[in-house]
Subunit: 338 residues, 2 copies
DNA sequence: CTGTTAGCGCTTTCAA
DNA sequence: TTGAAAGCGCTAACAG
């Protein structure tokens, strides 16, 4: 057939005609929803196969009031950790037979608009990896039976589930590792407009140190004015006395900090110890060899989807928070002890 | 209202009733498609506003035979260049009022399934950034009036448009820069299962060198058995005589190569010159300071969308290929000359 | 300019 | 087990 012929897509009616049954039977044969004799089912499936029939998801979704779409809200995918998280989510979403709708937001107001757009597509769920959804719009989702799950965000929205890396445990491990390897003067590096996860790591780190008996005056805080690599770089260049043991809110800051210190002739682990978070691919490269807490994105993604589908069945269950284990990866910037 | 009340979404009928008009008028007021008096339009819009009406995109799409969705096919988003390309595409898609449907593929067969799924959602277009779409399924898209555009892939599919970075020009610039800074023995580093873009860069590089009168025996080719950072690392460790001037198919390989050379005590630009491709954020970091060709992802994304929407209007126009300018970013591994 | 009407393609009662 | 029929929410052609 010439490509100039606008071929009408094959509909369930075409399949029905070919199989000599009604549209309803076709629907049953394909959705295994409603009773149908094995023989006719077989017949219909063959007809569908021969015609190359494909369900129209728009029509199906319109009817079922629910599409097979899952909305994902992200920000700054350029950041290596975020892109790997997105990768994990896509993988998991596809594995479960859904299709991802992804939107990158740049501010909180985008979030509202995006959530609203997602509801217009009658998504089966929404995953938020950035921003804090306003209560009001979340309620819109809830009332339309659209489950929402947040990843690494403050778990305080009713009827929304959360999956977070266990920042507390990670920070405690970092504190312990640094302390046990002999550090006595500590630093905590984060950027000014940090995410909630970053703040949580910082608090837990300081707390753990104090539990170990470290004098608060021996803990200093570096607040980079920009995020990412540049922030770490700047912090390293501007800080005065360099502590023995430094913990960073994320990998990008840590890499920048390492490079900034090198500019001053200081190297880890010789002159200081450094532990990062995230374990992005870059952390392991020879130029950095960063000791870091690993976030298990695959597990985070799995749990997020599980929560989503669970809540789809049972929309009013109380909000749940799952803490995903983090693992210390021992590399050069803070060598393994013992 | 209690959240346990399953609130039915507001429909055009509700708005119509409230505004005292018919459903059709509501449709016109919102789509500015068909004539309507300013007064009633105003009235309808207010009613819609008050009720918080949101169009049901599933119904709209079903009717118009076209959703406001654009499918994007990606692979290995973990790679920094790919994630920044995706970021650019998302930005552009959203800017033009569409919503991205993104799928990560891991093999060619995924591609067929994905394209098919996209058609089931009646997408307005498909952007392929990975894999080579089989002619057969592309025809399905074409016959359903779904435009397809490929980014950085071999531009040889009829009725499909392509947007590619100008690999030839980039490779020529690299060859020239290396030659003019005094290099006489050259290397080309790529990984074994390279993309088409990588191959094209290699060919153009070799060709340009020969044009400059370089003896082919003074050009060696490194084929890393794995892709990315690890491949570069391995290549650096296993190569015997290190050439003066090396060109890499991408940034990841280049960074790995730099680190691998450092293990052997060799440093750029002291012991060799190195030029990469992509200009990922990492390229500029202090540990690498890579001289590299910059791919303009924002421009690539803009053109891709323009092509898509253009072809939507005029589906049978001949296939077009757009070459997007690349720019040499001069950093340390091959210092600017003159 | 506005309302009526006929679908878009599918699912799902409800009878047979 | 199957078919007929209603309807998901919206748009567009056609009358008025």
């Amino acid at each position: 057939m010439s490509p100039s012929v606008r071929k009408q897509a094959i509909t369930a009616q075409d399949v029905a005609t070919r199989a000599g049954v009604s549209r309803a039977v076709v629907s049953r044969a394909l959705s295994s929803n409603g009773s149908i004799s094995p023989a006719t089912k077989e017949k219909v499936l063959r007809a569908a196969q021969e015609l190359g029939y494909q369900v129209n998801f728009l029509a199906q979704g319109l009817n079922r009031q629910r599409s097979h779409l899952i909305g994902v809200i992200v920000a700054r995918i350029g950041d290596p950790f975020r892109s790997s998280l997105l990768e994990g989510l896509l993988h998991e979403i596809q594995r479960r037979g859904y299709q991802a709708l992804v939107t990158e937001i740049t501010g909180e107001q985008d979030l509202t608009a995006t959530l609203r757009r997602f509801t217009q597509f009658r998504v089966s769920g929404v995953i938020v990896t950035s921003g804090q959804p306003p209560q009001e719009i979340v309620n819109e989702c809830v009332s339309q039976q659209i489950p929402v799950v947040g990843i690494n965000r403050p778990p305080d929205i009713p009827l929304v589930d959360f999956v977070c890396s266990d920042n507390h445990a990670g920070a405690r491990q970092a504190a312990e590792q640094l302390y046990r390897s002999g550090c006595r003067r500590f630093g905590w590096l984060n950027h000014a407009g940090s995410t909630w996860a970053g703040l949580q790591r910082g608090e837990a780190f300081l707390q753990a140190l104090q539990h170990s008996g470290v004098d608060p005056r021996d803990i200093c805080r570096f607040d980079a004015s920009v995020e990412g690599y540049g922030g770490g770089l700047q912090a390293a260049q501007t800080c005065e006395a360099v502590p023995d043991g430094i913990f960073c809110a994320n990998a990008q800051l840590a890499c920048g900090f390492l490079d900034g210190m090198r500019l001053r002739g200081k190297e880890a682990p010789r002159d200081f110890h450094l532990i990062g978070f995230d374990n992005t691919p870059q952390s392991g490269q020879l130029s950095y060899r960063l000791t870091t807490l690993h976030q298990d994105v695959a597990e985070i993604a799995r749990r997020a989807l599980t929560r989503l589908l669970e809540r789809a069945k049972n929309p009013l269950q109380p909000s749940r928070v799952e803490w995903v284990k983090v693992e210390m990866i021992h590399r050069q910037t803070s060598p393994q002890i013992g």
